[in-house]
Symmetry: C2
């Protein structure tokens, strides 16, 4: 690549909307990524940085000192600055805060004081507030005194003189109403404000359910602290769904698709190690029946069928329950019904496929007893799989273990152990 | 439950915001669900229906005739009516359309003419348009003549006299600008309008990247057709992420958590049947080595380890690639890099765990040859798993097969076959 090529790429990168530039950088293997980052003009770095995922952000942040971080994040929204700072070690965060101007520093410190996964950590402090007793005409003139309104402003927030939340006035209503009426007459006091300590998942559910674009956040005593906007909620929703998908394969939802080999390999290794342990447990079970297998070697040929069908059936149940929990559909009231339903489904499908497997086995090995044994083992394992797939995530949740991460490993251990145990155990009983 | 209880539930259900009532109904087993639906007042049915997922919607729609459907959907947004109608058979759709008033019918027919998964299928037709040559003062007076503005109106759309898209004027800008300037002077013509034929996934990516609340949709010749709002895009994003999670377990993203046993069982049965077929293929491979297993029964004990580690490693790669494709990160340019990275990771982790498995096997069976054989098989299978996990989704995508649905089955067939083949094959070579 000649210097002419570099110039062209530089112009292209800096000309793109920041989000598109960030997407391009994320879609690039990690080595080329550092080169691209160096081609970005300093005044665009902050805007692009905020659109990168956590892992790529921290890759670039590691190469900057505190003053550089403070310089490039100047002018970003408070919550985006807080998100970026959270990638840094505590010591560096303090240094960055010290390099900021006083006003910004107070605002960022305020957002940083809340957990990243709460409404407080999601909120922006750039609210436009009005008092209930002014007329719309006054409100319109007040707005016109602003240079610009914050992004995603669809409401003005109505507060009293102590900055306590009273209600909201939507711009849509403001624009169609008679300018001589007061804010109090047309404001909406039905909208429940969000408490700063609410979890971000609950916030996402509220936004999705009520089709909000923005919503006010309050602290103790109804004090208005800021507002949450839909763009940040969309990120929460995406991360939440990604979390279930990625965790079930033992991956992190922030996993960088184009991370280096030496970053990726150790992370994956841990998960493989855990699974190796469970595979050895299953082998241990098989080993108990070594003598039977020696006598009837067809058992070794057929035994993976029972275990794998249990694994597949259990994973289906597990996925349905994990998704239902993420959507907030499953509670203590309906979980017993759900477990029963899954067991019934497991029993029906167990019987169905048991008949077919029994037929196929009898034809293959000319041994109806073998067919009967594999059929019985299949029914036992599919019912066990249904029970484990439905109950495990509920038990794990009550123990504060993430079922999306741990559920699959425990489940397949159960279905392997029960699958081998029932099939080889029955065979030992009838053949030994 | 006495009739007093019913009255109370009825009052509660009809008093809830429609989205909350819908959530409650979705969280209820299917039998109680029908009872709850009967307790809902007719004037609330449409609002609640539009918030239900497709499967529950069609459960209720099946019990209504065309006129009832037309009656309860009156007053809903055009795209929501179209979504509901798409659950019905074509004949009933025609009947419902005939019962609608002329204006509504034309609008719904227009949206129905687009595929559900395109921008045209997502859009609403309730746009507020202005001409570029009027002053903001005139625009403000024009707005005030409306009873109300459509939900999620954050922009006015600027069109010429032929209704062709020119640009947008954000309400935020309108409210802070001098009323005597013209729309042309402050409108934004940089925003690329969405083409009606764009896929809904691409629309979602644009919204997420540009933090839009609403965006104009155009047809041929830049003719303005409608607009898409973020609430519908949030649904697309959620469904898209759910799709990968659910498909990997052979489930539909619309799967109703509380469907009846007899609805659930047949759906799951198909997936189990497909997996049974692949399990028999794996058994067929084992059967080739029957004689070797008969001689060295420890092989039967150890063989699931190699197969299962391959399955786990391959699933990790598959998940990363499927997620990367969903996020639009993976293209032809970087897929070769990604496949190479995965093969390197597979080789490194294969070697790492091969050493440990070799040691454990040697200790367990006191047979270093067995340790060496299982180690070699492990390396072969983990590299195969990486190659298959990375390449399969890319190949499937180019063949228009959904990798989230089919990828896992094909992958585990490959890792089972190669796992058993390499381990038992090497063992036959050295022991037979």
């Amino acid at each position: 690549l000649g210097s002419g090529g570099f110039l062209q790429i530089r112009r292209m990168l800096n000309g793109l909307p920041p989000a598109d530039a960030a997407h391009l950088i994320e879609s690039t293997p990690h080595k080329i990524r550092s080169v691209l980052w160096q081609l970005i003009d300093i005044e665009n770095e902050g805007d692009i940085l905020q659109h990168l995922n956590d892992e790529v952000q921290s890759q670039f942040l590691r190469q900057m000192d505190a003053e550089e971080v403070a310089a490039i994040t100047e002018g970003l929204e408070t919550d985006d600055i807080a998100d970026i700072l959270q990638q840094l070690p505590d010591r560096v965060i303090r240094e960055v805060l010290e390099s900021m101007d006083h006003q910004d520093r107070l605002r960022v410190e305020h957002v940083l004081s809340f957990d990243e996964d709460t409404a407080g950590g999601l909120m922006n402090t750039d609210t436009i507030t009005v008092r209930p007793n002014i007329t719309l005409d006054v409100a319109l003139r007040y707005l016109r005194r602003h240079e610009s309104l914050p992004e995603m402003t669809d409401n003005l927030i109505v507060v009293n003189r102590n900055d306590q939340y009273i209600g909201i006035l939507s711009l849509r209503k403001l624009l169609v109403s008679d300018p001589s009426v007061t804010v109090r007459e047309i404001m909406d006091t039905e909208v429940e404000p969000i408490s700063a300590s609410m979890s971000s998942n609950e916030v996402a559910m509220l936004f999705a359910r009520h089709d909000w674009v923005s919503a006010p956040v309050i602290g103790d005593d109804s004090l208005l602290l800021g507002r949450i906007t839909i763009d940040d909620v969309v990120d929460v929703i995406r991360e939440e769904s990604d979390h279930s998908l990625m965790s079930m394969a033992g991956l992190d939802e922030d996993e960088d698709t184009f991370a280096a080999v030496l970053t990726t390999a150790p992370r994956r290794a841990i998960w493989l190690g855990i699974n190796l342990l469970t595979a050895f447990i299953a082998s241990g079970v098989i080993n108990l029946f070594e003598a039977t297998i020696e006598k009837v070697v067809a058992l070794a040929v057929l035994m993976p069928i029972v275990a794998s069908m249990g694994g597949v059936a259990g994973t289906q149940t597990l996925t349905v329950v994990i998704r239902g929990m993420a959507l907030g559909h499953i509670s203590r009231d309906n979980s017993r019904w759900l477990i029963n339903r899954e067991i019934m489904v497991g029993a029906i499908n167990g019987l169905l496929w048991a008949v077919i497997v029994a037929g196929a086995t009898t034809l293959w090995f000319g041994d109806p007893l073998m067919g009967a044994i594999i059929a019985a083992a299949m029914v036992i394992n599919l019912i066990t799989a249904a029970l484990a797939g439905a109950a495990l995530p509920l038990i794990m949740k009550s123990m504060k273990i993430d079922p999306a991460l741990a559920g699959g490993v425990v489940l397949t251990t159960v279905t392997d152990v029960i699958g081998f145990m029932s099939f080889l155990g029955l065979a030992t009983f009838f053949y030994a």
